[in-house]
């Protein structure tokens, strides 16, 4: 069974744009003249290249359609005081303030502050409230203070 994904509106737009772009590329590719299969007695390298590109496009379209088939846009929860997917959280850790957006794994991008709900830290933050101290324990423990939660 496919996993359900919870995307932000922005995340969903990004996936849809990618799918649209691939569908357009497929359409253009289908207009091209398919190279001959055989070049004398051997498989034509141009045909193999063409086939590889088409297969790659089809595979990516298939995967994207699979994701988009079972996607829900993250909604503002009834309880806005708890960290859930879609939350913007202000934290303090090791005397430093920062802001995270907790997102589905397929939308995660730590360089943009989008932390996956399935990362070690993301998992610990989910379900917590403003004011909570969240310890991510292991050999090197870090304590995150949740200063504010926004949706």
């Amino acid at each position: 069974m496919n996993k359900k994904h919870y995307l932000t509106k922005e995340g969903l737009e990004k996936f849809k744009k990618e799918l649209d772009s691939l569908l357009e590329i497929r359409k253009e590719k289908m207009k091209e003249k398919v190279p001959e299969v055989l070049h004398s007695e051997d498989l034509n390298p141009e045909y193999l290249d063409f086939r590889e590109i088409v297969q790659l496009i089809e595979k990516r379209i298939f995967k994207l359609e699979e994701v988009l088939r079972d996607v829900e846009i993250v909604k503002t929860p009834k309880d806005k005081k708890i960290v859930q997917i879609g939350a913007k959280i202000h934290i303090e850790a090791d005397n430093q303030a920062d802001v995270f957006f907790i997102v589905d794994s397929i939308e995660a991008n730590p360089s943009e502050g989008k932390i996956s709900g399935e990362s070690l830290v993301g998992k610990k933050l989910l379900g917590k409230k403003e004011g909570d101290l969240v310890s991510v324990s292991s050999k090197i423990a870090t304590v995150y203070k949740i200063v504010k939660i926004e949706y």
Binding site: A93, D94, V99, A108, N109, S111, G113, S119, K139, T142
Partner: protein
Amino acid sequence: MSEIFKFISQIGELKKNGRRGWQIHNIDNPETTAAHSFQVAMLVLTIGEEKKDFDVSRAIKMALIHDISEVYAPDLTPYDAAALDENEEITEEYLKNIEPVIGRPNTNQRIKMQTIKKELEHKAMEKLMTNLSDNLKKEIIDLWKEYENMITPESRFVKQADKIINLLQGMEYWKNGCSSIQYKLWVRRAKESIDDEHLVKFLKNIELSL
């Protein structure tokens, strides 16, 4: 063939480029960009084979090309992001004059850095691909864009593999006496960034080795 010869000769520069993050820590004979890319590709190869429904060979190609823009683009680090003035417009010119800060950038600084970095790397990729055939240029640029876009499972995995190898190298330098590497901060950042189940286990191994 002469176009491929030129391209491969240019790529060879990455065997000489010591990664800038290590230079900021004053590490002698720092790991090069080429060495880093090799190790990322090997991690992708070994763990990639265990993953279901995963195009290992595409991921390996991505790992091999993920930093080639550094032939022409600056090797910008989180330390450069940490030095950014959030109220300034970040341009190529502005970046030439900042002094990196050994510390952790906040999200706003990261986002600003990502924007300019993508722009500079895209320009560099176009310059690097100038002499290649249209098909080869398209293949490499597509791989690079896929890696940057992080939409496919392969690209997300390679992005995380890149961070893991960076952490692994950083911890080796720290264990060998580079005390300016804030190892706890590095491990913390990895725990925020890694969610692939295989790489989380690998991360735990790194932590246990410290």
